[in-house]
């Protein structure tokens, strides 16, 4: 147990210590001492900015992501259960998925401008939609025939079987979408937004407030780690059955 904790903590501690030592007497413009960065971090982010920048960013991210989740799963189930619809939409969906999501930012700005929250939410939702949608289609298509027959013969509603059975694949799509959501949250704010974490970081960079800019990078990093952690905990609980089932399948082979 102690060994495991040491193993988990050792390298991060070493890396942070290295960062600290290597930049301690740094006069380099780009690499201010870590001590200086940490000194300005609380004042920079945990005062007024928590409300005016961090909160709006996270709110837009969550709203866009949840919209994509609801629409993606609903549409994915509809497409997944119909072979005709699947054949009809597959090439189009593959194309939309292949468009790198950041180019949505200028396209959506045509309609809704760069500054408002709406354009950012739409950007995030649209970027997250495709991986969720396509993975749901794939998951629904892969649901076991026998399971579907069982549900039919007991007159259970089809979605009550399809949704949990496709759950692992939907979760895989949702996980991909989450990292896209964070990317789009930042990028949509880099173009002349009035508030948000990304907007603040750009502002620091343009005004050459380098230690503050570094704190922004740290905050974005922490946000990414935190979101993925929350996702993992949720997934771990919701799909506990899947891990057990998969391990049992592997052991029997």
């Amino acid at each position: 147990m102690i060994r495991r904790i040491v193993a988990a903590v050792a390298l991060p501690v070493v890396l942070i210590a290295l960062w600290w030592l290597l930049t301690a007497n740094s006069t380099s413009y780009f690499w201010p001492p870590l001590a200086d960065i940490l000194k300005v971090l609380p004042d920079t982010w945990f005062g007024e900015r928590a409300r005016t920048d961090i909160a709006p960013s996270i709110a837009r991210l969550l709203i866009g992501y949840l919209c994509a989740l609801v629409i993606g799963v609903a549409a994915g189930v509809a497409i997944g259960i119909s072979p005709v619809l699947r054949a009809l939409t597959e090439p189009s969906l593959e194309f939309f998925r292949a468009i790198p999501p950041p180019v949505l930012v200028p396209v959506i700005a045509l309609f809704a401008g760069y500054t408002g929250s709406l354009s950012k939410v739409i950007t995030i939702a649209l970027g997250c939609l495709w991986p969720i949608l396509l993975n749901t289609v794939e998951g629904v298509r892969g649901v076991d025939e026998v399971l579907l027959d069982t549900a039919r013969s007991y007159r259970l509603p089809r979605h009550s079987v399809i949704l949990p059975a496709a759950g692992p694949q939907i979760a895989a799509g949702a996980r991909q979408a989450l990292s896209i959501a964070v990317i789009l949250m930042v990028i949509s704010e880099l173009f002349g937004a009035s508030n948000g974490i990304g907007a603040s970081v750009v502002q620091f960079q343009r005004s050459f407030a380098v230690p503050q800019m570094w704190t922004g990078i740290i905050v974005l990093g922490l946000l990414g780690v935190l979101l993925s952690l929350i996702f993992r905990v949720a997934e771990h609980r919701a799909l506990a059955w899947y891990r057990g089932w998969r391990d049992a399948e592997r052991a029997s082979r």
Binding site: A8, V84, L88, P100
Partner: protein, 257 residues
């Protein structure tokens, strides 16, 4: 059966095009924001005769390829070393798990300060984002090596190099290729992002310029091109997987990362 599937798929694409044609023509969407599909197609044809477009395409593909190559080499090498040494694996696990979800776009301000809009900016972002995809898959692959096979090889006195080539590589290859496919897609996203946001020369930069100068049909035509490159990159990676793995007994399912 197959041909009717392809037919339906083409029909679907036509329907999408038709919707994009009708929406602006019927006045349901402002033409200044969404031009009819035929106008986009016209601009697309125009692009093909535009040398600036081809230069930008070359720059984008070069940036993507260079970043992907660096990420592949570094990811496979690091993955093989870390994966084969249990102590290293144990001590790096938490760091990898922590660094991986850090969005690479967070580094944009830093690379702008250091490199400005030179291609190096894009390279840093692409390598950072693509590296994790490769590294994690390679780690899965090395972990999947049958310990019995490895022990057998050792007891027969195989050299380290020979073990790597005859046992490690065949087991890890499907994972490496999955890593390649995921990394190729992510690398393209970050390359375009760097061009669009920082102004690194390439298609992304053209999109930004076209949009801000109000050349709306040209913006859409460029977006379509970028999408087609995305489709091309995906199919290339999938073809590579099929080609290199035709000998493989099981077509592996992707390990959710």
């Amino acid at each position: 059966m197959r041909s009717s599937r392809t037919g339906l798929g083409l029909l679907g694409l036509l329907l999408v095009a038709a919707v994009f044609e009708v929406l602006p023509r019927a006045g349901l969407v402002n033409r200044d924001y969404l031009p009819p599909a035929s106008e986009m197609a016209g601009k697309l044809a125009e692009l093909l005769g535009d040398s600036a477009f081809w230069t930008a395409t070359g720059q984008t593909l070069r940036g993507w390829g260079a970043g992907l190559a660096v990420a592949m080499v570094a990811g496979v090498a690091a993955g093989a070393v870390i994966g084969s040494v249990p102590v290293l694996r144990e001590f790096t696990a938490s760091t990898i798990e922590f660094l991986r979800p850090i969005p690479s776009v967070a580094l944009i301000p830093l690379v702008v300060l250091i490199y400005g809009s030179r291609p190096e900016s894009a390279l840093v972002l692409v390598v950072y984002a693509a590296l994790w995809q490769v590294l994690v898959q390679v780690l899965y692959g090395v972990a999947d090596v049958d310990p019995v096979a490895r022990d057998t090889a050792r007891s027969y006195g195989f050299s380290k190099l020979s073990i790597a080539r005859n046992i490690l590589l065949p087991t890890a290859l499907p994972y490496i290729l999955t890593g390649f496919r995921l990394a190729a897609a992510v690398a393209l996203i970050l390359e375009i992002t760097a061009e669009l946001v920082i102004g690194v020369p390439g298609l992304g930069q053209l999109i930004g310029v076209a949009q801000s100068s109000g050349a709306v049909p040209r913006t859409y035509a460029l977006v379509i091109v970028v999408g087609l490159i995305g489709v091309f990159v995906n199919s290339l990676a999938r073809m590579l997987e099929r080609r290199l793995l035709h000998w493989h007994p099981s077509v592996r399912r992707e390990v959710p990362a």
